[in-house]
């Protein structure tokens, strides 16, 4: 069920109505039923895999939780207290090994399903390429949102193992956490600890929460339908013919893609968070105006935050603090002290971004994209002392508004360049396109009518431009004053003008309906 389909809107309307009419204790069960219905619309085959993941995660969580309970109760018991210290250690280690074994099995199962369904063809194509083989690809179903829900359950299992959260013994509650439909399509990848209080709680109707949620949903549809889907034909045309549309076109394509991807992804997240808010459920923000970032590190603290923190918490930190890596670092430090100190962090960064790239897609362009992000972050890290000295030497310059704009533009353009790998989906083509920006020219050609042959009219560009401008103004307001909805809430009459007008803008200028591709959110494929 696409977020932008009438069926989804009817589904939401019915859900919201029933949700607040039924006894509150059944609300979470209604949500689970809604999840099943939502997922089944995408195909029952995918539902089977989702159920397997839920079962595995519930069972593993329950076993680990039981093990912790048993451990605690035994060690508190007279029998446990009577054990000598060494024996207690051995006993504890045995329990920990057991939990590690359960966790490993569960992770292998969950991640194995993801790996098999998403990466088998990638693996086969690499084998064919490397060994000149002719292995046939597979035609397996790719369950909707598998990357998102798998990571969500993995985080749950690891958090249980780390004792950050208590295991949930109720299978249906685990199912709800894993399959909560607003999050399935494109995240955010939520933590059990963050969601459990709000997801299973009883929610009374709250007019403000309801209004804010609906307003957020509307804003999401504006971004998605008026901006993202309007620019999509031009992006597809520019990225689909890199030999024809090089030079200035490549830069324009990168800029269009920046706007389109941002509007699409954040629009979807707005709908997600808005739906959750209408249901009284709090979901963490996933984007905080990333295009206002002044460096790459900041960018990744503002863009797809849940993915970044997931990889940070479950890959980067554990890896960089891993005993084996520490041992290796110590060894290296005997010869090269500086490198030895940094090696764990650098290697962890590369591995984390390698996996991040791979998570985005089963293709080398994504891997290279990830690694390039890592390289830029590491280079920035290496140049930090120089940068700090520069700031100290020129405080007025580096503190000025102009310099801030420079940093923002620099970061924006770097990310646009990296994103070419996603746009063209081909490494050499992406590099060629990037190079052509500086060598192929075509500036005059680009601005003397060629852009009107990409499937967009003058008015389409105007609408998209105005939409981007509106998004920018809202972002500036948010950056300075926080929530715009809170600001409007303080003026009683204003929301009743602003949001109906916004609704009419979406209805009139949205790129939806017959004649428009009901294009999936870009991240749906994950």
């Amino acid at each position: 069920m696409l977020f932008t389909s009438y069926r989804f809107i009817a589904f939401l309307a019915l859900l919201f109505l029933v949700y607040y009419l039924i006894p509150k204790r059944f609300q979470w069960l209604l949500l689970l039923a809604a999840d099943v219905l939502f997922y089944a619309c995408a195909g029952w085959k995918g539902l089977v895999f989702l159920c397997v993941t839920v079962l595995v995660s519930w069972l593993a969580g329950m076993l680990m939780g039981r093990s912790f309970k048993e451990q605690k109760s035994f060690l508190k018991s007279p029998e446990g207290k009577a054990l000598p210290r060494e024996e207690r250690k051995v006993w504890k280690k045995k329990r920990e090994s057991y939990r590690k074994f359960v966790l490993t099995l569960a992770l292998l199962a969950d991640l194995g399903i993801l790996a098999a369904l998403k990466y088998t063809n990638f693996f086969i194509s690499n084998v064919n390429s490397l060994f000149s083989a002719e292995l046939a690809g597979v035609d397996w179903v790719l369950p909707m949102g598998i990357s998102f829900y798998t990571f969500q359950t993995v985080s749950y299992l690891i958090d249980v193992y780390w004792e950050k959260v208590e295991a949930e013994n109720n299978l249906l509650r685990v199912a709800l956490f894993t399959s909560f439909f607003p999050l399935l399509v494109q995240g955010p990848i939520s933590r059990f600890g963050d969601l459990k209080e709000t997801l299973y709680a009883e929610h009374s109707f709250d007019f403000k929460g309801f209004s804010f949620g609906m307003q957020r949903i509307l804003w999401g549809y504006f971004k998605k339908l008026v901006v993202a889907d309007r620019l999509l034909p031009a992006v597809k045309a520019l990225c689909g013919a890199p030999d024809q549309y090089n030079g200035a076109f490549a830069l324009i394509g990168a800029l269009f893609y920046a706007a389109e991807l941002y509007a699409d992804f954040t629009g979807g997240i707005d709908i997600t968070i808005g739906v959750a808010q209408v249901l009284g459920i709090e979901v963490k923000e996933n984007f905080i105006r990333p295009y206002f970032s002044r460096n790459i590190a900041e960018y990744w603290r503002r863009w797809h935050i849940s993915m970044g923190t997931w990889f940070k918490d479950y890959v980067f930190f554990p890896m960089s603090a891993a005993p084996r890596l520490m041992k290796l670092s110590k060894k290296i430090r005997t010869r090269w002290d500086g490198f030895g100190r940094k090696m764990p962090v650098y290697l962890s960064t590369l591995v984390t971004w390698f996996l991040t790239g791979l998570w985005h897609g089963a293709a080398w362009n994504f891997v290279v994209w990830g690694l390039l992000n890592a390289v830029i972050i590491l280079i920035a890290e290496e140049f930090k002392p120089l940068s700090t000295r520069f700031r100290e030497k020129f405080p007025r310059l580096t503190g000025s508004f102009g310099y801030r704009v420079f940093e923002i533009l620099r970061t924006f353009l770097i990310m646009c360049s990296l994103r070419m790998l996603d746009c063209y989906r081909n490494v050499p083509v992406s590099f060629k396109a990037f190079g052509s920006v500086f060598t192929a020219g075509k500036w005059r050609e680009a601005f003397s009518g060629a852009l009107l042959e990409l499937g967009l009219s003058v008015w389409d560009y105007r609408i998209a431009g105005l939409g981007v401008l509106l998004m920018f103004l809202v972002s500036v307001l948010q950056e300075r004053h926080g929530s715009v909805r809170e600001l409007l809430w303080k003026k009683p009459a204003l929301p009743y003008v602003v949001f109906p007008v916004l609704a009419l803008l979406v209805l009139c200028f949205g790129a939806y309906g017959v004649g428009y591709d009901a294009s999936q959110f870009i991240y749906n494929q994950f």
């Binding site: 194509s125 690499n126 390429s129 490397l130 090269w336 500086g338 490198f339 940094k342 650098y346 590369l350 080398w364 362009n365 891997v367 290279v368 690694l371 390039l372 890592a374 390289v375 590491l378 290496e382 081909n426 490494v427 050499p428 083509v429």
Partner: protein, 182 residues
């Protein structure tokens, strides 16, 4: 020295990736090139006045090559959509439709027994003989089905229909573009 080592490690990793990517890009390029060269109608092309063309070829260059038509019939549908332009040639009728502003060949009809398909099938011929000639085409993607005397050969979007009467004599030969209703 340490920074150099670090950079070398990074670039080595990247180089590995680029090599793999380049291999795939070469494959992709080769595949794309292959795709570009093969016409959509495969072995179901036609030759007229020594010009080879087929279903869903752009009509303008085809008509320029085969020469001026003797006459034109415009079959307008109700209201405005989907005019069929049927150009009459000696022994041949060429149907042309506009799709997204470009005219394409959507039908080739053999009118009499003076014209034959590249395989040698002509009106008036025995159907068994014609089927034997068509069977010489070796292409797995070419499918054939029969329904009440109409033998349909399909390759991608191109459809060749040969109609035979009860005596086994071919009465009509037509190439057309496959529509959804087919």
């Amino acid at each position: 020295m340490k920074k150099i080592l670090a950079l070398v490690t990074v670039f080595a990793l990247l180089t590995l990736c680029f090599c793999a990517a380049a291999a795939f890009a070469a494959d992709d390029a080769a595949a794309a090139e292959d795709e570009e060269e093969a016409p959509v109608y495969g072995p179901l092309g036609f030759v007229y006045n020594e010009v080879s063309f087929g279903i869903l070829d752009e009509a303008e260059p085809v008509m320029e090559a085969i020469g001026e038509a003797d006459d034109l019939f415009v079959s307008a549908s109700c209201a405005y959509q989907g005019d069929d332009y049927i150009y009459y040639y000696d022994g041949l009728e060429l149907t042309v439709n506009e799709i997204d502003g470009v005219s394409y060949v959507t039908g080739i009809t053999l009118v009499d027994d003076m014209i034959e398909t590249p395989q040698g099938v002509a009106i008036g011929m025995d159907i068994e003989e014609a089927l034997a000639l068509m069977a010489e085409i070796e292409d797995e993607a070419l499918t054939m089905e029969e329904n009440r005397g109409v033998y349909s050969f399909q390759y991608g979007p191109a459809l060749l229909m040969i109609q035979a009467n009860e005596d086994g004599e071919i009465t009509a030969i037509q190439y057309t573009a496959v529509t959804e209703e087919d």
